[in-house]
Amino acid sequence: MYTDKVMDHFSNPRNVGEIKDANAIGEVGNAKCGDIMKIYMKIEDDIIKDIKFKTFGCGAAIATSSMATELVKGKSINEALDLTNKAVAEALGGLPAVKMHCSVLAEEAIKEAICNYLKDKGVDIESFSKCDNCCRGN
């Protein structure tokens, strides 16, 4: 039911772990539903220098976390905010329909982390046009 790419990112996930001195952290999902994604970023000059994740969830949740971190690593926060769940799913060669919500969670986790970073910096989120889709949970 999973593509080879999904299985690869599930069994050898990239960027697993924690960044001790992260300046951007985003956590989405809840344990009751069986999915939690936590993203740690080290952002310097608005560039995502380093990114790590921890995920509680199914194979697709782990694979989408891994892929999403790969897709935004080294990118500017502006570019990262353009990440869509579709792009994550496509990069994995597709996801079963019942697992698409995992890719949504991955997108949200990335944006949540950036949103928290911007807020910490005192940026007015409302005026930050790229941030339409982030900070939804706040």
Partner: protein, 396 residues
């Protein structure tokens, strides 16, 4: 992958080679319709009746109380809908438990929509229903009580003899889904007093697509399938001769060898339970430690989710199942695990290992060692575990 270890015998079992051998003549040449008068029809009919006797013997019933069905689910549907439809004038109240198989539970939910009233008696924390709870739920207008003999997920053995006893002077019919029990523990309809009992051949190394319903003589029940006069006019459909013959052979063999196989299964199960509980921290055994099927071990590993566990086990050649939502296609984890009072996040991390009649040859230590490694790996990735570890070190 060097070896394959099948630990999902509660889902289905491997067709026994000897069972296949007795079935083949009925697929390769013995095609006669058992209702036909000529020789090849009569031979098929005779084989079916011999098989019916074997199924009856296995549960201490008479052969004219055994009706073959297309599956265990059909047997459950027939028992419940058939009793309700034939006895509606006696009442509209039904009783079951909250850990039944979906083939029972969803029938009751359907009947609720049709205007029946259903009491779902909750099980205790150990996954066993208290007969006193059934007694308390009984009403004058109760027409059916359905309690499984043993649970498919956590393997707990239900007190059906006690429940049968307390129903002996009540109008309610007593149905038990014995699909998981047959071939694993003794099943005796005289002892339990069950009026109806469901079984399924593929759970005891028989073929898929064949089951049976025991209906005690004199029980008033409607047909589920209407049509031809097969199964003494109670279940229309041309008989699945090969399946029926296979089921008869498989049940006879399973019951004959039960002491030996159940002993080996218990050894393997106990080894799995003992080592896993000892060596993998934050692990719970789901279901009563003693009153469980000889082959069933069901765990919850905290902080992780079951699907990842199954995928990693599969990479190591180990086949098992989980009650997590991700493996069931729904948002909620298994209703059985929730019935034990487990919080959702712990129910998501469940694993069922069900040992079969090849228990002697299973390398349980390989399974346990693999599991230790996988659980540790998933916990390393889990934000829940990270949080737990941090709060623990903050306390220290």
């Amino acid at each position: 992958m060097s070896k394959l270890i099948y630990l999902d015998n509660a889902a289905t079992t491997e067709l026994d080679r000897e069972v296949l051998d007795v079935m083949l003549p009925w697929l390769e040449g013995g095609y006669g319709n058992p209702s036909s008068i000529y020789s090849i029809g009569r031979e098929a009919k005779k084989a079916i009746e011999e098989s019916r006797q074997k199924v009856a013997n296995a549960i201490n019933a008479r052969s004219n109380e055994i009706y073959f069905t297309g599956s265990g689910s059909e047997a459950d549907n027939w028992a419940i809908k058939g009793i309700v439809n034939a006895n509606a004038e006696k009442g509209k109240h039904l009783i079951t438990t909250n850990i039944e198989h979906h083939a029972v539970l969803h029938v009751f939910e359907y009947l609720e929509k049709k205007g029946y009233e259903v009491t779902y008696v909750p099980v205790e924390e150990n996954g066993i229903v208290d007969p006193a709870g059934i007694k308390e739920a009984l009403r004058e207008d109760t027409i059916l009580v359905s309690v499984m003999t043993a649970n498919n997920e956590i393997g707990t053995i239900q007190p059906i003899n006690e429940i049968g006893k307390l129903l002996s002077d009540h109008q309610a019919f007593f149905h038990t889904d014995a699909v998981q029990a047959i071939g694993n523990i003794p099943v005796d309809v005289k002892e339990s007093g069950a009026d109806l009992l469901s079984m399924s051949a593929h759970k005891f190394h028989g073929p898929k697509g064949i089951g049976a319903l025991y209906i005690r003589r004199g029980v008033k029940i409607d047909n589920l399938l209407h049509g031809g006069g097969q199964e003494r006019t109670r279940r229309a459909s041309t008989e699945n001769t090969a399946g029926i013959v296979g089921m008869g052979f498989a049940i006879e063999k399973a019951v004959l060898n039960m002491d030996k196989t159940a002993g080996a299964m218990k050894n393997a199960r106990d080894h799995l339970i003992d080592r896993i509980l000892n060596e993998i921290p934050y692990t719970i055994l789901n279901g009563d430690r003693e009153k469980r099927l000889p082959g069933n071990a069901n765990f919850s590993f905290r902080f992780i989710e079951g699907e990842g566990l199954l995928l990693f086990l599969d990479m190591k050649g180990i086949m098992a199942s989980s009650g997590s939502a991700c493996t069931s296609g729904s948002l909620d984890p298994s209703h059985v695990l929730l019935a034990l009072g487990l919080p959702h996040e712990i129910a998501h991390g469940s694993l069922r290992l069900s040992v079969g009649n090849d228990a002697d040859s299973i390398d349980t230590d390989y399974v346990i060692d693999s599991l230790k490694e996988i659980v540790a790996k998933l916990r390393d990735m889990s934000p829940l575990y990270e949080e737990f570890e941090k709060s623990k070190s903050a306390e220290d």
